[in-house]
């Protein structure tokens, strides 16, 4: 059942991001945009799925800044809009955001920021919440799936009431876990979109000091609304020994930890759903209950800092208050929290014996999960074109012999910093940054730099952020080879289409932007290769490396292995001739399983020979060209 068909009053099992999408529909959202990024992608993906029946518009934007801009346009025209992004995306969108906040909005505009504590799928574990404070925008933090939906709906109302964007921040454990959500009524989106400026500066930040002043007044209005919000509440004794102040998923960890320690009569929990601006009166009232405060939060000491700031502003009224949290070392300064870590912090403050999870429990849990999943190192899938590309990159750089290296960024190909990409990627920062770094390295010749530089980026990343850097390299006579690993998918975040695919978020056909033609139009040498042709790709890259001077582009084009697997039959049935396989002997030493490392190849310790794992093997046949003994045989299907 789709999120657009669930009836009001019924209860459905929703992923946090689906709950946000439903909340948007219940608020009458008419416009949704995002660039995919874990753990945020399902918000817009879910809305795109129901775009037709919900009569809304949804798009995958080329990057987060553009997503924010298109959504703001809808708001300006009186249509409620939602834009979703992961924490890194906020950085991309921030340039626009820091002007939009001064400009203000019309119809409700909600920015769903999904953070990734512990960086399970990210290059950083940045906290998005300080952005709300920085941009003077209201911030909501749902802790449950129900809240995810209800707060989203409310965020539109707040946005419309104060006429500025409202931020909703979740973390992976809210966005990606599932729980029961009681549904409300769906509201159809406005059909009266129209852009009308009431003054020449209406949709501008001008005059800046005036709009700045206005922006702060809007934030004050939000603070007043927050004072009575049901999403802020206190549960615990009248005079707790210790007051836990928390928000979002950490609220649930705190509840569990207090329960596990049977400390409910000593500890109170102040759960905040509106974390910027703080509802000061409400918070002060509860701080007055106690002399000790433990702030439980992930990533940045955001709440902790704001609480201290609040107390510092009212020193005359404040009693004796001791704060515990990240600054005191009771809460870890990095990584995700869990009930155990919170219990440890509570135990330390309250001087309680804390029993962690018993080793037997851990063992039992591992046994249960281990029986269903196979332990495997993180790496490229069987049939992944990136493995083949990096095999050739490695070989070309080795043969070239001048100490060449690869600058990269975030995408599936980031995994090439590990063994399945032969440790080739040496730099990883923001999307497209590998190309920018290559521009810089490629202009160090005057300072004695002689190493060849190869920059890699995926097709979706190319559109997102690599084009300006490529232009910069061309314009400034930099010297590097850009290898675009075009697997025709935004694979890492779940195969969302992008400008090069020819399909929109809602499945409509659209002209596909031709990466090769685009690069050629910029005036650079462009070569195209099939990564599965290992020898040809190595030779082409080697030749491009030698073609010193200027920027060269090599497009390594082959559809993502998972997409191919969904599309139909594999190319080959692959098997190994055990007679020919040299195994551990001198002359091979397990090149395929030890170095090439496709998960479709396994080492059979019984026979001392390599073997194909027929369940995993995608039948791409690349390993046959890697085997030095011709023992891997591709049978055409």
């Amino acid at each position: 059942m789709s999120i657009a068909t669930g009836k009001a009053g019924t209860s459905e099992l929703y992923m946090g991001n689906e709950a946000i999408a439903r909340g948007a529909l219940e608020a009458g959202v008419g416009f949704a945009a995002a660039y995919p990024g874990t753990p945020s992608s399902e918000v817009i993906a879910t809305l795109a799925e129901v775009a037709k029946e919900g009569e809304i518009y949804a798009e995958w934007s080329v990057n987060e800044k553009v997503a924010m801009e298109v959504a703001a346009a809808a708001s300006f025209a009186g249509v409620r809009a939602i834009v979703a992004m992961k924490q890194n995306g906020i950085n991309v969108a921030s340039d626009f955001l820091m002007n939009l906040n001064l400009t203000g909005t019309r119809a409700g505009l909600v920015l769903a920021a999904c953070d990734d504590p512990s960086a399970l799928s990210s290059t950083n574990e940045q906290d998005s919440r300080p952005f709300a404070k920085w941009a003077d925008l209201p911030l909501l933090e749902p802790g449950t799936f129900q809240e995810a939906k209800d707060m989203t709906r409310w965020a539109f109302e707040i946005s419309e009431e104060i006429r500025n964007a409202c931020m909703l921040r979740t973390v992976t454990r809210v966005s990606h876990a599932r729980g029961d959500v009681e549904l409300g009524e769906l509201i159809p989106p406005s059909k009266e979109a129209r852009f009308t400026a009431t003054s020449p500066v209406d949709f501008t930040p001008y005059p800046v000091p005036f709009k700045h002043h206005q922006m702060i007044a809007k934030l004050e209005k939000a603070r007043e609304l927050f004072e009575s919000s049901p999403f802020n509440r206190y549960v615990g004794p009248e005079r707790p020994e210790l007051l836990v102040v928390t928000s979002g998923a950490c609220w649930l960890y705190s509840l569990e930890a207090v329960k596990a320690l049977r400390a409910g009569d000593r500890v109170g929990i102040l759960k905040l759903g509106t974390t910027w601006p703080l509802p000061e009166k409400f918070v002060q009232k509860h701080l007055a209950r106690t002399e000790r405060v433990l702030v439980v939060e992930e990533v940045a000491p955001f709440l902790e800092g704001n609480l201290k700031e609040l107390v510092g502003g009212h020193l005359a009224d404040a009693g004796q208050l001791t704060f515990y949290g990240k600054r005191s070392g009771h809460i870890p300064d990095s990584g995700e929290l869990n009930p155990d870590l919170v219990a440890k912090a509570l135990g330390s403050v309250l001087d309680l014996e804390v029993e962690g999870v018993s080793p037997e429990y851990v063992q039992k849990a591992q046994q249960l999960t281990g029986s269903h999943t196979h332990m495997r190192a993180i790496g490229f899938c069987a049939g992944c074109p990136h493995r083949a590309s990096f095999w050739s990159i490695k070989n070309a750089l080795k043969l070239d012999g001048r100490g060449g290296f690869v600058t990269g960024d975030i995408g599936c190909y980031t995994m090439a910093l590990g063994p399945t990409g032969y440790f080739q990627v040496k730099t990883v920062q923001a999307m497209g940054s590998g190309v920018g770094l290559a521009c810089g390295f490629g202009n160090l010749a005057r300072t004695g730099f002689e190493q060849p530089v190869v920059s890699v980026c995926g097709d979706s990343t190319f559109f997102h952020a690599a084009i300006p850097a490529l232009l910069n390299g061309i314009y400034n006579h930099s010297n590097f080879t850009l290898m675009i690993l075009d697997n025709s998918a935004t694979a890492m975040t779940g195969f969302q289409p992008h400008p090069g695919i020819g399909k929109t978020a809602t499945g409509e056909t659209t002209p596909a932007v031709d990466i090769e033609a685009l690069c050629r139009a910029m005036g650079v040498r462009v070569e195209v290769t099939d990564p599965f042709d290992l020898e040809g790709t190595t030779e082409k890259l080697l030749e491009l490396l030698r073609d010193d001077g200027g920027v060269r582009v090599l497009i390594s084009k082959r559809t993502c292995g998972l997409v191919r697997a969904r599309q139909g039959e594999p190319d080959y049935r692959v098997h190994i001739d055990p007679e020919k396989c040299r195994g551990d002997a001198c002359g091979c030493a397990r090149l395929c399983t030890r170095v090439f490392q496709c998960p479709g190849l396994i080492w059979d310790a019984e026979t001392d020979r390599a073997k194909i794992d027929e369940v995993i093997c995608s039948g791409c046949g690349v390993c046959a060209d890697v085997c030095p003994a011709g023992a891997i045989i591709n049978e055409a299907i």
Binding site: K398, G401, C586, L591
Partner: protein
């Protein structure tokens, strides 16, 4: 053979990274890890074996000439400058194409063509260069193929990679024309326990080339490219002293480059090589200084003697006695190279107790250093 058995990682550490690699090609072509590219041996991936054929056959890991002589000739290396010698002659190709195309007397081309024609070998592994002067091994099966490979450009060539490739074809009796380091590697291949017997046993004839040094491909060709059009080059030569020039011939001209400039591109490993006359070959051939159009021919093994005898009877080659002063000159040059190399080795290792790859008795060392 008591050579230490070590692995590819030690090969890289002790030889490749220390620029001792002679680029003989012995380690190339039998595994995916070591390849030859543009005049370099490249380690493509890390091989984790603790004992490897690559280390065992390398002419810059543990070389004991006494032991190798025992394996190849059945006796330890005799005293003297030239190693085991049956006879030293002058030789040249009989009337025919080889005399015209060969570097000096055409003896090597004539011998290999004859050996192929007579079925003494069914494949000859030689060295040829491409348009960019990059030399590589070339397996040929007939006289035309031999003549295509005639001549040398003094650039180090991984010829033995071709032997490794040829040894797994239908060829049964393979002859190889090899420089000193390559002859050394072939001798080590005969002794290595890691070698596949059915492959190395195909080695039927080794014709060694006198060698004093070879050049680093990329640097040298880069230099040459500045002086002349590579595609036009028909032959290069170093005429005997005191000319001190490196001659580059094209169809229309001959560019004479100062030899000192070319010497800058000598592989550093050549300075550590003690073997000028390819002592472990069946036959060794070089120029006969002062006698234009003739080669010096050292007959060492029974196989070599047989081949020379038949080739002379056939008229494929002609021989003549080598003038005494030429022999003395050859011996002096060979001894000088040995002594010079030994001093260089000690300089590099920092101790006369560490001769890097060379195993030498204390007495022999003392004699040579005296």
């Amino acid at each position: 053979m008591s050579a230490e058995l070590k692995g590819p990682q030690q090969l890289q550490g002790e030889v490749i990274d220390k620029h001792l690699c002679a680029l003989c090609g012995a380690c190339v072509g039998v595994c995916p890890y070591l390849v030859s590219h543009q005049g370099r041996i490249v380690v493509m991936d890390e091989c984790n074996l603790s004992e490897g054929r690559c280390y065992a056959v390398c002419p810059r890991t543990s070389v004991d000439f006494d032991e190798l002589n025992r394996v190849v000739f059945g006796v330890p290396r005799p005293e003297g400058e030239l190693g085991l010698v049956r006879e030293v002659l002058m030789a040249r190709a009989g009337e025919g194409a080889a005399r015209k195309k060969g570097q000096y007397g055409g003896t090597v081309s004539a011998l290999m063509s004859f050996a192929l024609r007579e079925g003494l070998i069914d494949s000859a592994v030689l060295t040829s260069s491409d348009e960019a002067l990059l030399p590589s091994g070339s397996a040929v099966r007939d006289e035309a193929g031999v003549l295509d490979c005639a001549g040398s450009n003094f650039v180090a060539a991984p010829t033995l990679a071709e032997f490794n490739r040829e040894a797994v074809t239908d060829a049964q009796r393979i002859g190889v024309v090899a420089t000193s380091c390559q002859v050394l590697a072939l001798a080590k291949m005969r002794t290595s326990t890691l070698e596949k017997r059915d492959q190395i046993d195909k080695l039927a004839l080794v014709v060694g080339l006198f060698c004093t040094w070879s050049l680093r491909y990329e640097d040298f060709v880069g230099f040459l490219r500045e002086k002349t059009d590579l595609a036009e080059i028909t032959k290069v030569d170093i005429p005997p002293p005191p000319a001190e020039v490196f001659e580059v011939y094209s169809n229309s001209s001959c560019v004479k480059l100062p030899l000192a400039e070319v010497r800058r591109f000598i592989r550093s490993t050549c300075d550590l090589c003690t073997d000028m006359t390819a002592e472990l070959a069946d036959l060794s051939v070089g120029s006969a200084e002062g006698v234009p159009g003739w080669n010096t021919l050292i007959v060492r093994s029974e196989t070599g003697a047989e081949l020379v005898k038949k080739a002379v009877a056939d008229g494929a080659i002609e021989t003549a006695p080598l003038p005494e002063e030429n022999l003395e000159h050859l011996k002096g040059a060979a001894l000088n190279k040995r002594k010079r190399a030994l001093r260089n080795i000690i300089d590099k290792s920092g101790s006369s107790e560490d001769l890097l790859y060379l195993k030498l008795s204390e007495e022999a060392l003392e004699r040579l250093l005296a």
